[in-house]
Symmetry: D2
Subunit: 498 residues, 4 copies
């Protein structure tokens, strides 16, 4: 089961991440990828909460195992825990009806028959439902983890027991991490023709070490902001050797990742980490993009007094119309009880602000980047840091003033937050359809470039999820479709709709 | 002063409109333009409410007048009422601080010096503020009305008294309407070099009758959906002879026209026409685009139980997440108290639905099109129509069942609804900036095509309106701007932002 | 049909009212009764809007008329307009299903058989439904108006035509007003045994002029704050000669009059009078009682930034928890766009505040009293008053600053506001049940004192109105009723529940 | 630090509780008191979460300890952990500014000088702030726990180290529980003159074992529903031998306990236990009292579709007006995703409903009673129960259908829920003021009866908490106070205000 784990990065970690992950630098997305940024010290504090069990530190590399059917082409922590993992997958299946319907609808025609998918994602109950859906639709899959710390060992065991060649366990060393990727790709008996990536490392590894594989690759499906950015760079440089689908920016997924997910998460995240009561609290939300809009709506509904800071007049005007006073951080910094950043920018909250905040103020990063708050500036001699919970640091001023720092990393498939399962379901369904589209596309439809999911498939993803809400679509009459100049079955939106 | 006037079109009027205004046929925008659709019978009923005074029906054409300074190049109802009009303009100025700031900021450099603007818009206190702003920025203006019924006579008098050559009065005949346009354009002593149009009729007239004028025209600014559609058609056909700016689709304006304006208007419009109490009422809103979102939010806030119908799964999914049950109209038609349409589609509510609605149900069109409700189907012998108020018809079934039909035409610059002045201010400011941009653009920046307002001017419009809310923007640091890869002063949004 | 008429009292009127209506002085309810406070000048400005038609000013007293059946025991404007009035009553019946169900349920047993009710209320389509319901339940009725200006003449005609002895017309002189009351009461052929009063004038007249009638009076039902206050005074003084039912404070009615009615009315009232857009507006609401809560909720939902002033820490704490900053008026007076008073107190907004308000600020009284804003202080030489609409005054400072004064009198059955029909329905149903209860109560249940409606009848009123919402109550099981220690059919609330 | 622990009672536990705690039977409050109802099995599952540390099970009774100053009149787990406890108390102090202000304001005059308070409450950081406040105001205190499982051992250590005679540790046996109470009361060297009780056990013990102490007892302050009920019974029976203050029903406390606390808690509680996403979920809330209102508001704000069941038409009508469809449980049982009970009634959700709920439905008790859901009916052979988390049970039908049972016990000072600290602060402040009032009341003001806190002290509690919101009260002018007929400094509310 996923539980919330919100981490405060130490400045050292941030710099470490920055140095290592050169290609992560990108406006609005400049966060180091998760596996890099969670260095030992921060994850240690998580481990007691996040971990399934305290495991003996013998590397699975050195302990060959076999499934009950005698298979051994996998490498995980403990195959005996497959039953526990299977129960978790079954529970996740209930929360992903869209994929289950897809299995049913497309299970007979097997649109992925012949596909050999090599995948690199978080390995959790939710991604397991995706992987097994791909299998049910005809694909053969080999899988590895995109993150050294996020694998659910029991789930990996269940996948292996079910016949998937999976190479992943929680708390890998960096060496083990790349070893797994290599084992996953480099099987002599098997050549992938599809790539499903989350973060770009698998794609990177193949281009570096097995470039010849690209001859057979029909398509890459990439999900992370970072990975997508990397693909666009490759494409620009003329070094992208297969069509790629950017599922991160598909409309259905975007709508839910940002607005709805932040609306559901902000209150939950802060309550779990700080037990704060929101009624009457004064809160400043930095940034009124989709994440900011979601945060503000949720906070206002619970009775907080919300201020907004913005650099962009169009967003600022929307904040005004939605009932939020638009102020600069400097103007409200002395009176607020909570500061939330979701700008995509860096150093939005700086030492000059932090010095003036009230005693007891909560400072929370809701953005994708971990640089929104200038934490480095707080690493000075006169300030004391105390880790009061795994997820929360107190910073104490000489006069006793205490700030509460927390950082809700709001990313789908983040390994330590309760991303609502609907978001995970939408992402996974989009990934599955992107694979189907790329694999089945007629020659020439896709070049060696980066594409968005076609609008009608995007709408199909949305449609599958309506089942969860018992929602009933209206069908256009022939007459109406003609009047609107569109097909009865969509796409209903122009290509530029967002 | 603007007051609400909501009209129910009789089927005859609709067909009349359709026949006359061929070019109005357009998905999502298929409404006849206002001046056409308000035929005699419906406007008569409005007149007692909308009109300033009951005037003697002698055409101003036949009654030459002079301003106090002896000018006579205008044609309006009564120059003596200029004082009343001036007071209304002064009040409107208070509600349009953005234009007033623009006057101040740009008044010295006179960016429209040398511009000769011929304009065709509604003539109201609000447009008067725009016209006089153009003058203050250096332009010479001649003006005519885009609608036979919407002119505020006192305001026209004040404009004339102030030296604007204005040709307009309330309740023109069609003949008078075109006569005014012709007088406005066809002055022998004067050749326009800019066009500001609302509905495309002025542009149409010039292309037909004075095509040679286009040699001097530096640009057309068009504001209506209909007019913009026409421009795109001309462009496609290679018959657009000047650069044109589509201000209808500028981002700032769009955000306010649809979402915020409908949110503010739906409750107001229905309360004024039907005095309905919303708490506990069951309402179905057809369409969950921006207008639908605004309606649903306002109704939910007042305690209505809201259902949504949608054809598009992406919008449907948003409705679900926002807390509205998505049903077909057929499923809820027997239980709802109010039906609201805002689909942009036609015949969304049909006789089959109307027959099953409850006694006392209110059926309201909030869409841009007046065809969303199939009113023709209600013109059968067994049904009785009663005009119970200027704005409301009752349709009575043989068994005594009574439906209440009303139609909130939610268009900016509609001549008979209380479009919030903020929306009018945003529109007018956008028009002014579009004129400035086109007039001052270096040779070659704009071809004979249709353009959107550049993003930075769009943001400038938004910024001017922040003044109304005492909102304070945050300025990017150099470092942040560099990190984001944008200029400190915007544009902040990518071109595709909506 | 009721339309909104919001009046600004001139200080003269207020003082006039104060002098005349001595007994109106009462904490939280100190407003002069309606008929007194609307002196000539203010109602003149209303008349063009409120009036059915401009009638010749010949007093109905001098023009005897007969119904189609030859009856002549009534005095109204014009019996020939009965048909119009009947249609309005029929429409009101649709909005008062509770009374219609009561007619059906109790029509056979005629619980008011033998009752002779003399009534003094507003005479509108809604009260007509009440009066005719009393008739259908067996009562004989004579009726007069409680207000000189609020009678709907057509409705009075329909009542007369239907056989009710009604004495009322719009725009009576004070002399005519009391003449009508006298004619209503003083019939030689008829002695009332029940009184239904609204404002206490009828009760007052009877005690002064026909005290002997009280021998037969089984009960008084009084609805207004003022009248109820008067009854308590009489009771205290030992001069109340019949049992009286205070329907003003029955729980069902109170819940709707204050919270829900203000929530529905504030936005409507201000939009109709000032066309203001609420999104982003800064509003201060003085007083966070039920009316204030309703106003704040509605304004917040539309995107206003709301501040609250309070004297009472318990209410202030609720405002905080609901997300409103609690400030003093002095602290926010310079920044707000709208000031709304609903304190029940006097001189809440004083000259010192009014002097500091922004240009264009709207100042609106939503309270029951018209003394919340110190209007007298604005009657100084340097300030100019302009009546810009019937319902709105501008007050202009020497420097051009302009305040917009308006006054939403939020009272049930106020003759010039769109009190939602549900509120009228609840009030009327409560009145009917109070009459039934008093008329049928066994000897000794009620003494010569003031009572509240018994809780089970209060719940019955609520239950009748659930029909309008298609709401389905759950019935307690025997076991549950026993567990809770109450009857299966209520009352469900303790007597002190509010 | 308090963390959430939500427990599903097995039917056995319920019956156990019922048998033991005879006096708990009371309409709307029939839950067994906490210490009784948490029998071994349910608390075991909590222990890993709730417990500070895994302790060796040697009874503190057998291990005498001394504070650093040599004091030994206490009995707790481990005096060495006092430092940890002190830090927790210091953090709690920050969240209880009202008590801190009270210390400051009343610290000099020491209104409790001479008071000897014996207390029996949960022993947590929050109650520690209360206890130490009493000390600072002059009282001598002896304390014991009202619950066998809720004591925070570190806090108890800090209290002891600070000189309070405290007798409490987490996970006492029943024998130890009463031993502590006895040690607390029965000191030979010390006679209490005030009682602060939570649950009535201390009062019970004194009346049974040390009745003579009542000669000196000036007052009892009782906080729990159960304890208050018991006091009323004693009073009725003439066996209450000291004045008692019912702080449970003071207005300030009530407002926050029910409405605001449930609004803040329902979403938090369900997210923590089930990670459910609320957008678009269909939820039925049984009961529309204050707790139901809070739940419905919070759920609606997050985008849930909420239905309400009610037995009481007045509450039902409010639900309608607030925008919730009022249905019977039977009507919606097949379609809802979540069932929440907060009726105060028993067996509201019965086997007949549970059988028809959808697969995956969450059933959650938010009421004070744990009998709202008929759990006994689910203990049949064909159903499988699985404890999937400490706080959550799955019940699985033969066809695989799975219900998720959870039970948010929403009680202030419940030992295992994150009751917002504001609620705890209000309760503690009310308790302190009640003690001060009873201790200082002039002879004769209070008889041997149960009283509510005087309105002005209630308002004082509210006022102290305004500090947390930087809220500024308005002060009445002399003139206004006179007009309203009240004192400038309150009480502002009539005695019957709720």
């Amino acid at each position: 089961m996923f539980i919330l784990c919100i981490c405060v990065f130490t400045p050292q970690q941030i710099q470490f991440g920055d140095q290592k992950q050169e290609f992560n630098k990108h406006p609005r997305t400049g966060h180091p990828s998760l596996s890099q940024s969670f260095s030992q010290s921060s994850t240690d504090s998580c481990s007691s909460v996040c971990d399934d069990s305290s495991e003996v530190e013998v590397s699975p590399r050195d302990t060959p195992q076999r499934t009950s059917k005698g298979l051994s082409d996998f490498c995980i922590r403990n195959i005996k825990h497959a039953d526990y993992g299977r129960r978790e997958i079954e529970m996740a299946e209930q929360e992903m009806p869209a994929l289950m319907v897809l299995r049913e609808k497309a299970g007979r025609e097997k649109p992925l028959a012949g596909a050999k998918v090599v995948g690199c994602t978080h390995i959790t109950a939710w991604t397991a439902v995706l992987i097994e859906t791909l299998s049910k639709l005809g694909a053969k899959c080999r899988w590895t983890a995109c993150n050294m710390f996020s694998t659910q060992n029991n789930v990996a065991a269940a996948l292996a027991e079910g016949g998937i060649a999976v190479f992943a366990w929680r708390r890998q060393s960096e060496d083990e991490f790349w070893w797994c990727i290599d084992r996953c790709v480099g099987a002599e008996t098997w050549q992938p023709n599809m790539i499903l990536d989350d973060g770009g490392r698998l794609t990177h590894w193949i281009s570096k070490k097995y470039p010849s594989l690209f001859e057979n690759i029909r398509g890459i499906v990439e999900e992370s902001v970072t990975g997508v950015h990397r693909l666009y760079q490759l494409s620009k440089a003329g070094r992208l050797y297969a069509p790629a689908m950017n599922v991160n920016d598909s409309v259905t997924k975007q709508k839910f990742d940002d607005l709805y997910c932040s609306k559901e998460s902000i209150v939950d995240g802060l309550k779990r980490t700080t037990d704060v009561l929101f009624g009457g609290k004064q809160v400043v939300v930095c940034g009124y993009g989709e994440v900011g809009k979601g945060c503000c709506a949720a906070l206002k509904a619970l009775g907080a007094v919300v201020y907004v800071t913005e650099v962009d007049p169009i967003c600022a005007l929307q904040a005004c119309m939605d009932g939020f006073r638009v102020m600069t951080l400097g103007e409200v910094v002395r009176q607020v009880d909570i500061v939330i950043t979701c700008t995509g920018n860096k150093n939005v909250v700086r030492r000059e602000h932090l010095d003036r905040l009230k005693n007891g103020c909560i400072v929370c990063n809701m953005g994708h980047s971990n640089m929104e708050i200038d934490l480095v500036s707080l690493r000075t001699a006169e300030l004391t840091w105390k880790r009061v919970r795994p997820q929360v640091d107190h910073v104490i001023w000489p006069n006793g003033k205490r700030l509460i720092l927390t950082c809700v990393i709001l990313m789908r498939s983040s390994f330590c937050s309760t991303v609502p399962s609907l978001v995970l379901s939408i992402t996974a369904t989009t990934q599955a359809l992107a694979l189907i589209e790329l694999y089945n596309a007629p020659e020439g439809r896709y070049k060696q470039d980066v594409y968005l999911l076609p609008k009608n498939m995007d709408e199909f993803v949305a449609g599958l999820h309506l089942l969860m809400f018992d929602a009933h679509l209206t069908e256009l009459t022939d007459d109406q479709a003609k009047y609107l100049g569109i097909s009865k079955h969509g796409p209903f939106k122009p290509h530029y709709y967002r």
